[in-house]
């Protein structure tokens, strides 16, 4: 009897997971199906849930554009490259500069270091809209409007405090003895950081890097305000532009969406463990 009860309980729990799977996958499925549908099928009533003539045309239009494709589709690859350059640069800069600061704040006895760390956590929460007006004025004056440079520089406003805070919480977990041993052996602070602390905190650095990369890849507001042509536009701006004034290229829009979602989704699935530890480092730490 207890065995049967146990089985029934398991079955009940499993049935409860079905709505969760539907919640997760129905929108994803519709994104994929729409990207594989012809224009005619997308605009058919009633809806063709399963396309009768599935096609890769939308993908071909974006990846090897001909002359007939729309402006946004034709330039989409360039915006993908822009996004990649911006997100990678922001990640590298934030980790390099941020690791020095994080180490100093958690391990070196500097006046007001605690207050400075709290300040870093505070600035991490400041929304972009609070900074955009002066940044826009300065960028225009310096001739940086519509450049990748201005995006890389301004994205540091969220990336750097975040990287400092997150790396700091990982550095804190490195046993002091290891560090003291290196210092006694005559290593400088920088050597200790690079040869002792960073290798031990490698998982923390990976999760910080992924977080910063994903946030930068996702960023929309600054890219919308600070760019005007394809030379600096990023993927989110390009996707928003598929909704033109007169026509909406739904197939292109969904295909762009799939292409933009692939890198972060794959990263998130591969580095699941690191991401969860990052998401929870604030919540479960204390």
């Amino acid at each position: 009897m207890p065995k049967i009860r146990h089985l029934r309980q398991k079955l009940g729990l499993f049935l409860l997971t079905i709505p969760v799977y539907l919640f997760i996958f129905l929108p994803i499925a519709w994104l994929l199906i729409s990207s594989l549908s012809t224009r005619a099928e997308l605009l058919s009533v009633p809806i063709h849930w399963i396309p009768e003539n599935p096609t890769l045309k939308n993908y071909i239009d974006i990846l090897t554009p001909g002359t007939a494709t729309s402006e946004v589709a034709r330039t989409f690859k360039i915006t993908l490259r822009n996004s990649l350059v911006v997100a990678s640069s922001v990640t590298i800069i934030a980790l390099m500069i941020g690791s020095l600061a994080a180490y100093a704040l958690v391990r070196i006895n500097i006046p007001f270091r605690r207050q400075m760390m709290l300040g870093v956590i505070g600035t991490r929460m400041i929304p972009e809209v609070s900074l955009v007006i002066p940044l826009y004025i300065i960028a225009t004056r310096m001739g940086l409007y519509n450049t990748l440079t201005v995006l890389i520089a301004t994205y540091l406003c969220f990336a750097l405090p975040f990287a400092i805070w997150m790396m700091g919480s990982f550095f804190e977990t490195v046993p002091l003895e290891l560090e003291d041993a290196a210092l006694i052996d005559g290593a400088t602070r920088l050597q200790t950081l690079f040869r002792v602390i960073m290798p031990i905190s490698a998982p923390g650095l990976v999760s910080t890097a992924i977080f910063v990369f994903l946030t930068a890849w996702d960023e929309f507001f600054f890219a919308l305000i600070f760019t005007s042509t394809v030379s600096a536009k990023t993927v989110p701006v390009a996707i928003a532009e598929f909704t033109g004034r007169y026509v909406v290229d739904v197939g292109g829009m969904m295909t762009g969406g799939v292409l933009a979602a692939i890198p972060p989704v794959i990263l998130a699935l591969i580095f699941q463990r690191y991401i969860v530890s990052g998401l929870t480092s604030g919540a479960v730490k204390a």
Partner: protein, 304 residues
């Protein structure tokens, strides 16, 4: 020998502090340049009536922009909509996220797979999320109308995004899809760290499942819930991207939140002073929430 130790330790300390400050310097300069200076500059600009562009005249109006906003019905309606969005989306996300976290924690068949794929909606970029839902809500060809009429719940297609309150609720639905996984993942990880002994003891004492949840599990989860709540509240209060993509603030301003109003005032109407006043108010709100968050993370009892 012994006498020289304190002295050299002192200079060592000073040298240490100097090295520390040097390591900090690049970060401090960047944070000052792209965060602190812009906030102060925004505050300064909010006392002027001015436009975008390099040589536009600035007229000092003191607190004029703020008083103007406080006396403007549009501003208060916007605050109302922002609060509605924040409370409804964060509230529902917390309930659903907690539900999913508890479900995964009960280890149904395939729970590891469920936990893994749960991250997908969170990883999909916000703009993709927005455009996808906009397409789902499409009045003529959208999947929502298609699904509901197939199920026989509606007999004619509904233009979902033409009614302000409905449009707002549908934006909230899109936000829920994106953010529920975030909360579920945080709470599930917190649940996994809870000691099972307490619940077992409560069970032996005769507490039923609901009582165990309410009096044992929930209080232990309190901290993780608070952290998720603060992070999501700050994010929801500043919502911009999905509104821009799904409704463009419409219909009839029905989905204009405070960030969106700041964007419109600044970059569509060119009222820089007014936009600056709005964005400074957003900074103030965020800093208040930041203080709450920091207080929580570093509760005095944890300091020991």
């Amino acid at each position: 020998m012994r006498a020289t130790v304190p002295k050299s330790r002192l200079t060592n300390r000073q040298r240490e502090a100097l090295v520390g400050l040097l390591l900090l310097l690049p970060s401090l300069l960047i944070i000052f340049g792209i965060t602190l200076q812009p906030i102060l500059s925004t505050l300064y600009l909010s006392f002027f009536k001015t436009g975008l562009g390099i040589n536009i005249e600035r007229v000092f109006v003191g607190l004029g922009n703020y008083l103007n906003l406080l006396g403007d019905a549009t501003f208060w309606q916007t605050i109302g909509r922002t609060l509605y969005f924040t409370v409804v989306s964060v509230g529902l996300e917390l309930l659903l996220g907690l539900g999913i976290a508890l479900l995964i924690h009960a280890h149904p068949p395939g729970w590891k797979f469920l936990r893994a794929v749960l991250i997908i909606p969170w990883a999909v970029p916000t703009i993709v999320n927005g455009t996808l839902w906009r397409w789902i809500y499409n009045a003529d060809y959208g999947a929502l109308n298609g699904l509901l009429s197939k199920l026989g719940l509606i007999d004619h297609y509904i233009p979902w995004l033409t009614h302000p309150r409905t449009a707002m609720n549908l934006v909230i639905l899109a936000d829920i899809w994106h953010s529920v996984p975030f909360i579920a993942i945080i709470l599930q990880a917190a649940l996994a760290t809870l000691p099972v002994e307490l619940e077992e003891a409560a069970a032996i004492d005769g507490a039923n499942a609901w009582q165990r949840f309410l009096y044992v599990r929930l209080p232990l989860l309190r901290f993780a819930i608070l952290v998720a709540l603060v992070i999501r509240t700050v994010e929801a209060f500043r919502v911009f991207d999905i509104i821009y993509v799904i409704t463009n603030g419409g219909p009839a301003f029905g989905t204009v939140t405070i960030s969106y109003l700041t964007y419109l005032e600044t970059f569509s109407y060119g009222n820089i002073g007014r936009g600056a006043a709005l964005s400074f108010l957003i900074s103030l709100f965020t800093l208040t929430m930041a203080v709450v968050y920091i207080r929580m993370l570093y509760r005095p009892e944890d300091r020991a």
